[in-house]
């Protein structure tokens, strides 16, 4: 039983990378706009359909299709920010929840109406490929997802800490009013941050397409784990999303093997409740994050 432990840990870390990938966009949007985007999963779903159709109709590799799909979803993000998010930015929490939730229901059923409820999958040369390394086996698709998550997180953290734009963004998060007095264009930053967060979801969707089924409610299935990860890591913290993803990935793989497969999903939800009880702001989060910089 213990001999397999290193393999389980490695698989857990790789799955954790996928979870981190799911959560980075969500945490970015919350970190900047203080809005929980309940429709984040639907943007992942749209990107997956984009990658699927690019493959089915034109024979394009799902990873390669990101070149088209990600900018397209980015544009959609700009539109959604303009017509929905901007108008509810300072509204009551309940209205913010229902606006993004309504968007989620809308996009989900748009996909259902257009493409039907079927489970579709993309098979590529590397779908069932795996590498051997020191006697451990690494699935190629999970490994790519893991690398993408690390690169994306590192890029975002680098951008936030070492560039002028990142500094403006962090200033705005601390104090919207003061930042605008210093010449920061807060409206433009909001729009860019939302579109970037949604584009992260699109990257995630393209990378998940070869390893997961594509169907209209796939976003809901995926994003629940994303929410758990984000709450665990701390809403608004990119590093927290990565660490949270790894913790959930490892916890799920271990319980899936040592206890039972049905228990795998429950353990993530249990962890979620425990975190809420012990440390509601998450591992890397700040207390009172829901109102920070909005008053």
């Amino acid at each position: 039983m213990l001999a397999i432990l290193p393999q389980l840990l490695v698989s857990g870390v790789l799955i954790g990378g996928v979870y981190a990938l799911l959560s980075i966009g969500l945490t970015l949007i919350f970190g900047v706009l203080r809005v929980v985007n309940f429709a984040q999963g639907e943007f992942i779903m749209l990107a997956m359909f984009g990658a699927f159709w690019a493959n089915a109709l034109l024979g394009i590799d799902p990873y390669l299709s990101a070149i088209v799909v990600v900018p397209a979803i980015f544009m959609l993000g700009l539109l959604v920010e303009r017509f929905v998010i901007q108008r509810i930015l300072f509204a009551a929490h309940s209205m913010q929840i229902f606006a993004t939730f309504g968007l989620s229901v809308l996009l989900q059923n748009l996909a259902l109406t257009l493409w039907g409820p079927d489970y579709r999958s993309v098979t590529t040369a590397y779908t069932s490929l795996s590498y051997s390394f020191l006697g451990l086996s690494l699935s190629a698709t999970s490994l790519f997802a893991f690398i993408a998550a690390i690169v994306m997180a590192a890029g975002l953290i680098g951008f936030l800490h070492f560039t002028r734009g990142g500094m403006a963004l962090r200033a705005m998060v601390q104090n919207r009013y003061a930042a605008s007095l210093m010449g920061v264009d807060t409206k433009r930053l909001n729009r860019l941050a939302f579109a970037c967060g949604v584009a992260c979801a699109a990257v995630c969707g393209c990378i998940l397409t070869p390893m997961y089924y594509t169907f209209p409610t796939v976003g809901v299935d995926l994003i629940i784990t994303g929410f758990v990860v984000v709450v665990l890591g701390g809403m608004g913290s990119v590093a927290g999303a990565v660490v949270g993803g790894l913790i959930i990935g490892i916890a799920q793989t271990l319980t899936g093997f040592y206890l039972s497969v049905e228990f795998k999903d429950v353990v993530a939800l249990l962890l979620f409740i425990v975190i809420l009880l012990v440390r509601p702001q998450g591992l890397f989060g700040r207390k009172g994050a829901e109102d920070l910089g909005m008053k």
Partner: protein, 289 residues
């Protein structure tokens, strides 16, 4: 009156009651729960399981459902009260998922995803009736009950405390209101009423499977009706259900699943962006002018 229209009346009253119970939490307490279907499902399953598997009268199931739902509500909502705003909603979304997993896997009791059917033996002792009018009466009474409770809270001290906590928890706390206590109280009331709705649903439909009662769509529908009618008004959920349930019946016969929910999403988004006060709220605002 044929059965089709009576069915719509039953559903209109039932949804108005469920939505009204949610409105108590969300409209007055600011506790935007996306997990009402957990309460609804537990209430429905309690009576169905006790009747179909163990042979108890649904009246026992009714009491058991209310007790079970209310105690579950205390257990699960207590930790969630540490969270504010959207975080609370996020956490509540988890519970229907957990209850659905349990209902799917605890096959000895719930019969899993094949669902559970209740034998139709009409009689008041089984709370099953030949005439649909009886269900109309029951659903209407439930709606009245929820309306009455809401009215009572709306006018009373509890309502004031709730609104104070909703609008500014820190200020309310400094004035001597205990936020956790009032939130807990309203959640228990809401859960008990939602469980009654679940009971009525089970007795009326006589067949349950996990997705039909625990689905997130049910939580959304519950919230949507109050939102359309007017959040935080006693009449709001009833008006919302009066508009939406017959429309929904029409839409599902004409369009079917996907497009119907597509319209739901669009309506939800439209109401939030264009008329966040809902029908009743907007009319009241105009009346006052």
């Amino acid at each position: 009156m044929n059965d089709y229209y009576l069915n719509i009346i039953v559903m209109t009253c039932l949804w108005a009651a469920l939505s009204g119970a949610w409105n108590l939490m969300a409209g007055y307490g600011g506790l935007v729960s996306l997990g009402q279907s957990a309460f609804f499902g537990i209430g429905a399953y309690a009576t169905a399981v006790l009747y179909a598997t163990y042979g108890f009268s649904p009246w026992v199931g009714l009491v058991a459902g209310v007790v079970l739902t209310t105690s579950t509500a205390v257990l699960i909502s207590w930790p969630c009260f540490r969270l504010r705003g959207a975080f609370f909603s996020l956490a509540t979304m988890v519970f229907p998922i957990v209850t659905e997993i349990i209902a799917n896997n605890w096959t000895d009791v719930t019969r899993g995803f094949t669902g559970i059917a209740m034998n139709f033996k009409p009689g008041i002792e089984n709370f099953m009736f030949q005439s649909r009018w009886a269900y109309v009466a029951a659903a209407f009474l439930l709606m009245l009950l929820v309306y009455g409770v809401t009215r009572w809270i709306h006018r009373g001290r509890l309502g004031l405390y709730l609104i104070a906590v909703r609008d500014d928890q820190d200020a309310a706390e400094s004035m001597g209101v205990e936020p956790v206590r009032v939130k807990l109280l309203i959640t228990m009331i809401s859960a008990a009423l939602t469980s009654l709705g679940g009971f009525l649903y089970a007795q009326y439909i006589l067949f349950l499977d996990p997705p039909s009662v625990f689905s997130i769509n049910i939580s959304v529908q519950i919230a949507l009706f109050s939102l359309i009618g007017g959040l935080g008004t006693p009449l709001g959920p009833i008006v919302g259900s009066l508009i939406m349930t017959p429309l929904d019946g029409l839409l599902s016969t004409v369009l079917g699943g996907g497009p119907r929910l597509l319209i739901y999403g669009a309506v939800l988004l439209g109401v939030v962006l264009l008329a966040p006060q809902g029908v009743v709220g907007t009319l009241q605002a105009r009346w006052r002018k």
